[in-house]
């Protein structure tokens, strides 16, 4: 069984025990006969953005609900803010912000009233006007504060949900697919907001279907079929998916099959050597692009090949995800 398929993952090297805000070990939950989450293990350091990426139905929302205590696990241990979620008291809950996947605010209330409601259920004092205005400005809804929530666009509703989630200035924020169904410009803006929150000291646990959003995260957990394939930094994910870094080499002349065989035997080439669609280009998986590129140029000179261009290629995370999911064992 591969390391990824085991659904266990060592914590990222940069974390220490003191900084851990969420700790999950062998988390499993079943709905009837079907396991929604199986043996998930990870740790999240305080002050980071943890992206939880996976296709629809992979177990992301279930995991969030387990972390907030809404579901009880069938097996495994969860500690959030130092406590199992099922033992949260009011003061622990007051440190958590949760934005569910669907818009859970009231369509008949205005933006301001919805925000006020959220502030009240967190027991915030009635002197909160400044805080609410600050939040509306943060999510750029100040001009719309008198609008009924049902009259807001999808993007505005997501931003209102975000504002309601942040109203009590939580330490730990769970955002369940906050960018789902939103145009790319707004998605980018929301991620800017998340970065600002991180800079202000919050820890964010963000689930998303958009694999590309992994780039905004400090750590990324990849979920598929209820299993956590790995937890890595975005760069680590790429390396893991392709077995190294990717370099694209373009030459004046088409390299022969014998050349490709020779290249694949070079010591710094760790993976496949494949031709690109333009015939004169090849893609190589190397252990480290920064050292491989000068070595490849030297090889071209030695073999009388004229290098037209050579650069490190950063594959999109969609491709990274596809590569990673290939490793997931089937139920059989």
């Amino acid at each position: 069984m591969s390391e990824a398929a085991s659904s266990t993952m060592a914590k990222p090297a940069t974390t220490t025990a003191a900084e851990i805000i969420i700790k999950v070990e062998g988390l499993t939950v079943q709905f009837g006969q079907e396991a929604a989450v199986q043996g998930v293990t990870f740790e999240i350091p305080r002050g980071s953005i943890f992206g939880f990426i996976g296709p629809s139905g992979s177990g992301k929302t279930t995991t969030v609900r387990l972390l907030t205590g809404f579901y009880r696990p069938n097996a495994g241990r969860v500690t959030v803010l130092g406590l199992p979620p099922t033992e949260f008291k009011q003061d622990t809950r007051a440190k958590i912000g949760y934005m569910p996947q669907l818009f859970a605010l009231y369509p008949e209330l205005t933006v301001w009233e919805n925000l006020n409601f959220a502030a009240s259920i967190y027991g915030m004092s009635f002197d909160r006007e400044e805080r609410l205005n600050q939040l509306l400005a943060f999510v750029q809804l100040t001009e719309h504060k008198s609008k009924l929530a049902r009259n807001l666009s999808g993007g505005m509703q997501r931003r209102l949900s975000l504002a309601a989630t942040l109203v009590h200035d939580p330490e730990l924020i769970f955002l369940d697919e906050p960018t789902a169904g939103i145009d790319p410009v707004l998605r980018r803006r929301l991620w800017d907001h998340f970065k600002e929150l991180q800079q202000a000291g919050s820890t964010l646990f963000v689930t998303t279907q958009y694999v590309g959003e992994a780039a905004y995260c400090d750590y990324v957990g990849v979920m598929a079929m209820g299993r956590l394939l790995m937890v890595e930094t975005p760069e680590g994910l790429r390396q893991h998916a392709f077995g190294g870094e990717v370099v694209d080499l373009h030459t004046e002349e088409r390299l022969t099959y014998k050349d490709l065989k020779t290249l694949s035997k070079l010591p710094f080439v760790t993976g496949k050597v494949t031709r690109l669609n333009d015939n004169n280009g090849i893609r190589l998986i190397v252990d480290k692009a920064s050292t491989a590129i000068p070595a490849l140029l030297e090889w071209c000179q030695h073999e009388y090949a004229t290098a037209k261009s050579i650069e490190e290629y950063l594959p999109p995370f969609d491709d990274v995800f596809v590569e990673l999911v290939k490793e997931v064992p089937t139920d059989e």
């Binding site: 809950r93 949760y98 669907l102 009231y106 008949e108 009240s120 259920i121 027991g123 009635f126």
Partner: protein, 524 residues
């Protein structure tokens, strides 16, 4: 430093404001809730006629023209509830008309009614109708009994009137006999004087006396024939009336016609001496007293209206309540109670389902909000909204429709609080066991339907079998209707026991709803 209320108050206030905003943002709903029951009561008050239903009736008589004419005469005048359409001898076409709804009733008169009665049996008037409503069927049965009684009374009245007419003729003969007796007395007195005082110049015309005596004898025979047993019947009726009513009036000794006849026979042979005449005069005096007695009795009989004789009693009901409201006035407190219950159950019933469908329950769980705070917040908001609605409705029915308000407004407010509190409890329980809003609405409708039949809204609780009344007492509206009627329509103070039960019931429901919500918010 600005003091802030405790967090529990802030959290409860979140729901108080939120629910009120949600309702206020639906002005059409609020308008419907206020105007709906008011208009229902208004149109009911205008439209409801407190009169028994009139039945279009065809009378079927088979081949008896005389009877048909008599029936027609009767049927046209029996009463307003019988609309006489006509007489037919075609029962099939009458039945078809009944099926088509062109008439409401067929009355079949037996052709051999006279013979049946002569055979010591009651003749049956068969009524055919096309009703399936049990209440209407009962009404037709009562209608049949009332109208047959009326026919029976008319027959009795006819017989009594005929008897009185005969007695009227007998009375004339009685007066003639009294005149003859008076004349005879004069003749006998003169003869007695002549025989008793020989020097007396008066003459005794014994032949004239004898002739007058024969005439009197004849007159008495005529009276005997004319009066006969009628006098006994008359006496029996009056005696029975006397006994039934428990009258303590002392009746004078009754003279019998047979005594009079006997006395007349004793007068037949006039004697020779003054003592004979004096003895005859004593008999004659008694005879005159007897005749006067009989005349008085006949006069009494004739003076009583035949309608009174055959129906000596009738009833008149008078309520000792302060007022007797109209139909709309009587139902107004019940309609308001029913509406408030339904409103509270529906609003509360949809409330938690909606939170769940919206996903807000998940948010509540993650937040520091407790089930108690959420429930109290919702209770307060709906109590406030229901209270305002109750004020508007009661003002409209009292000052707009003229429904009496004999008791105190404070009592009405306390009852309304109990009603809303308990109804909200039922609503929240419904909400917490329902998965969808359709399910919650269905449950609310079932409670409404149960309330209409079991709360005493239009069927008095006394009409229900006692064990079934458990259902009635499980409905807040049952308590509210009884309490509202007592306070508003009778002006009585609140029945504290009933009120205590209502509040106790509401408190139990609150605890039940709280436990369920707590479990629901604890985990999934």
């Amino acid at each position: 430093m600005n003091r802030q209320p405790p967090r529990i108050v802030i959290r409860i206030s979140a729901f108080l404001r939120k629910e009120i905003f949600v309702v206020v943002r639906q002005p059409l709903l609020v308008l419907t809730l206020v105007l709906g029951p008011f208009l229902i009561l208004l149109f009911f008050g205008i439209g409801y006629r407190n009169e028994a239903r009139a039945l279009r009736t065809i009378v079927f008589v088979e081949g008896n023209q005389t009877l048909a004419e008599k029936i027609e005469e009767y049927a046209s005048t029996l009463g307003q509830q019988l609309i006489f359409i006509g007489i037919t001898d075609d029962i099939d076409s009458a039945r078809e008309s009944l099926r088509q709804g062109e008439i409401d009733l067929i009355t079949v008169v037996p052709a051999d009614a006279y013979e049946t009665v002569q055979n010591n049996q009651q003749a049956i008037l068969q009524l055919y109708h096309h009703e399936i409503d049990p209440l209407q069927t009962d009404y037709i049965n009562v209608f049949g009994r009332v109208y047959v009684n009326e026919i029976n009374r008319r027959i009795l009245r006819f017989v009594t009137s005929a008897g009185q007419a005969d007695i009227s003729q007998a009375q004339e003969r009685l007066e003639t006999a009294q005149t003859s007796a008076s004349a005879l007395q004069g003749l006998l007195e003169r003869c007695a004087q002549v025989l008793d005082e020989p020097g007396n110049e008066a003459s005794c015309d014994s032949e004239a006396a004898q002739a007058r005596l024969k005439d009197l004898d004849h007159q008495i025979d005529q009276v005997d024939i004319a009066v006969g047993d009628r006098l006994n019947i008359n006496d029996t009726i009056l005696q029975a009336l006397n006994d039934t009513t428990g009258s303590e009036s002392v009746e004078p000794p009754r003279s019998r016609l047979s005594d009079i006849v006997e006395n007349t026979n004793e007068l037949e042979q006039l004697g020779e001496t003054a003592d004979d005449y004096i003895a005859k005069l004593e008999i004659l005096a008694q005879l005159e007293v007897d005749l006067a007695n009989i005349k008085t009795r006949l006069d009494t009989f004739l003076d009583i209206d035949p309608r009174v004789l055959i129906s000596p009693f009738r009833s008149e009901a008078t309520s000792i309540a302060t007022i007797v409201p109209g139909v709309a006035g009587f139902f107004a407190p019940s309609v308001v109670a029913l509406l408030l219950q339904h409103l509270a159950i529906t609003f509360a019933g949809l409330s938690m389902v909606r939170e769940r469908q919206l996903g807000a329950m998940e948010l509540f769980y993650v937040s520091p909000l407790s089930a108690f705070e959420a429930l109290v917040g919702k209770y307060l908001s709906y109590l406030l909204f229901g209270g305002v609605l109750a004020i508007v409705l009661f003002l409209l029915v009292v000052f707009g429709l003229g429904t009496p308000m004999l008791g105190s407004w404070f009592s009405v407010a306390i009852i309304t609080l109990g009603l809303l509190l308990t109804s909200l409890g039922i609503g929240f329980l419904i909400s917490l066991v329902s998965d969808t809003d359709i399910q919650a609405v269905q449950y609310a409708m079932i409670v409404l339907l149960t309330s209409v039949f079991f709360s005493g809204f239009f069927l008095s609780l006394e009409t229900l079998w006692e064990p079934v009344r458990v259902i009635s007492w499980a409905l807040p509206v049952t308590y509210a209707i009884l309490l509202y009627r007592d306070v508003m329509l009778r002006g009585d103070p609140m029945q504290l026991l009933l009120l205590a039960w209502l509040f106790a019931f509401g408190s139990v429901l609150f605890v039940g709803a709280w436990l369920l919500l707590r479990r629901s918010m604890a985990h999934s």
